[in-house]
């Protein structure tokens, strides 16, 4: 439904988005992750046709956004980054305006507004002027505008920004629910959100896609993914460290906690075929060789924010490399 092909956008000498390509099908919720200034909003603005790309193309529901902008926009619901709205209007008249812009009149319009109001919990402020509303309500008013025509494609730029935890949860489950029969792209800084609502995530850094996969696939890229965390009673921390480092199949081991009575150790697999049964293997080895008591044992899943940081830290890594290069020259 959304096809982004080699999308590039430069602002003067700066390349904001660099040859980005991806697709989103009906039934998919794509999480768009990246540090501030990575090019998330610019990409979304190009998908909605607000700004033209320097090169590359975007297709929405089969319509080229540059050539058939009106046809494409008709099928898109868009929540811009700062959730703008006309502050001098009331919520009801603002949504009425949005509905009319989408071609609804009379009863149809009333129904469309009513449904959006219900979905975004706006009944209580319907006749209030938008500039008297809290940030959360303003945000939801703009979200309601994006949903008013029940679009096939939703582009949401930080839809949970400025909401309280309950509202965040509400919006997240709304996105997940709607994702069943729409194609949705939403950007966020909050990694739990990706796990909670997305079927797929893209991490973008400095304008380029650096990772693209399901949340589980991404988590598996964490170096902690598959590591075993074991809590033992009895031994000294040094002894455990030494013993684990020498175990077959273990790449390295680190002591996570040592309080005299208990020692917690994390063992990383070295990538040999033992991987799948790594925890069992370690447990067997430990029980066979030493008389330590195993209190707790579990395999770690890997954490999205580790992956995120590892990938997008390239920022500093790249700068360091460049400085080194400059120094060498």
């Amino acid at each position: 439904m959304i096809k982004v092909d080699n999308l590039t956008r430069t602002f003067g000498p700066k390349t904001a988005v660099d040859k980005v390509s991806f697709q989103v099908e009906r039934g998919e919720v794509l999480g768009f992750l990246g540090p501030n200034g990575a090019g998330k909003s610019t990409t979304m603005r190009m998908i909605t046709g607000y700004i033209p790309p320097t090169s590359g193309r975007v297709e929405v529901c089969g319509f080229d956004v540059a050539e058939k902008p009106i046809e494409a926009r008709r099928r898109i619901g868009y929540l811009p980054e700062s959730a703008p709205s006309y502050h001098d209007m009331s919520v009801a008249s603002f949504l009425g305006f949005a509905a009319e812009m989408r071609g609804f009149r009379g009863d149809e319009k009333k129904r469309a507004v009513g449904k959006a109001v219900e979905t975004c919990f706006l009944e209580s402020v319907l006749h209030q002027s938008i500039d008297t509303l809290s940030k959360g309500f303003r945000h939801r008013t703009c979200l309601a505008q994006a949903l008013i025509h029940d679009p096939e494609v939703l582009i949401l730029d930080e839809p949970t920004d400025g909401l309280d935890p309950n509202q965040k949860h509400e919006v997240r489950s709304l996105i997940k629910r709607m994702g069943a029969n729409k194609a949705i792209i939403f950007s966020t800084h909050i990694l739990e959100e990706v796990e909670a609502a997305c079927s797929r995530a893209i991490i973008i850094d400095r304008g380029a896609i650096v990772a693209n996969g399901t949340p589980d696939e991404l988590k598996a890229r964490s170096d902690r993914a598959g590591a075993v965390l074991m809590t033992l009673r009895g031994p000294q921390a040094d002894a455990v460290q030494q013993a684990f480092s020498r175990l077959p199949g273990v790449a390295r081991a680190e002591i996570v906690l040592a309080d005299g009575a208990k020692v917690a150790v994390r063992a990383y697999p070295d990538g040999s075929p033992l991987d799948s049964a790594f925890a069992a293997h370690i447990a067997q080895q430990v029980m066979g060789r030493w008389s330590w008591t195993i209190e707790e044992l579990h395999t770690e899943e890997g954490r999205l924010d580790d992956v995120f940081r590892a990938i997008t830290r390239s920022d500093t890594a790249r700068d360091a490399a460049r400085t080194a290069e400059a120094a060498a020259a």
Binding site: P52, E71, R73, S85
Partner: protein, 247 residues
């Protein structure tokens, strides 16, 4: 959906926005007060001894010079500042429909303000027997004049998110369009420039073209002049809006 429905939706929202805020009422009151003040004191309405609105219409180019940019300055600056431009221009409408819609709404608003000067018209009709044809021509001319200033304000408003800058820019441009046909300026110019040059420059002045309407002459050339300045300024608005997004 047709272009006209889209434009009407934009017009409706814009007009409602005017009357929902105090701006509209403040503007109308100030406009009416100033128009009355200029007409009756500087225009010496009663001392003229004639039943006409000449004293009323002669001030319009000067009065509108400050009041119209005050109405037009927010047209696009405000949309950009508050981010609603991104919303408006990602609705399924073309940029032209948005530009024309916003322009028409403000023009309609100025038309309403102009219509509210009807007591002056009533006054001359009660006191004497004016040529109402001339008065109608004067009103048509004033409306076209207001539209011209407004279209220029629309263009300057698209250039900046700062309303004050937008206001000053449009006042300066409109002032230029007035001055090139203002007799004291043309006389000065005539001292060292050839007459064809002076006339050529004055042909670009709104004063030159407004003159006919004041005398009751509806000359198609004058109408074409105002219409083409409006068209050109709106075109510039579109070019500026597109250029900004293209970076």
């Amino acid at each position: 959906m047709s272009a006209w429905t889209n434009i009407r939706t934009v017009v409706k929202r814009e007009l409602a926005a005017y009357f929902d805020s105090p701006v509209a009422y403040v503007f109308i009151v100030i406009y009416l007060l100033l128009a009355g003040f200029f007409t009756f004191t500087f225009g010496a309405f009663f001392d003229r001894g004639e039943a006409s609105l000449g004293a009323f219409f002669m001030w319009m180019p000067w009065l509108f010079l400050f009041l119209v940019p005050a109405v037009g300055m927010r047209l696009w600056s405000e949309e950009r500042r508050s981010g609603t431009m991104e919303l408006l221009l990602t609705f399924p409408i073309t940029t032209w429909q948005a530009i024309v819609g916003k322009f028409l709404a403000s023009w309609l608003f100025l038309g309403i303000a102009l219509a509210l000067t009807f007591p002056v018209w009533l006054t001359v009709n009660i006191l004497g027997d004016p040529d109402n044809g001339v008065i109608v021509a004067g009103y048509v001319g004033s409306l076209l004049l207001a539209g011209t200033y407004l279209a220029i304000s629309s263009a300057t408003s698209a250039m900046t998110r700062n309303q004050v800058v937008s206001f000053i820019l449009s006042v300066v441009i409109c002032l230029l369009l007035v001055l090139v046909g203002f007799p004291p300026v043309t006389d000065l110019l005539a001292r060292w420039a050839a007459p064809w040059f002076v006339e050529g420059v004055a042909a670009f002045s709104v004063l030159t073209h407004f003159d006919g309407f004041q005398k009751g002459v509806l000359d198609s050339r004058d109408v074409v002049f105002f219409a083409s300045v409006i068209g050109f300024a709106l075109f510039v608005t579109g070019v500026v809006l597109r250029a900004q997004r293209a970076g």
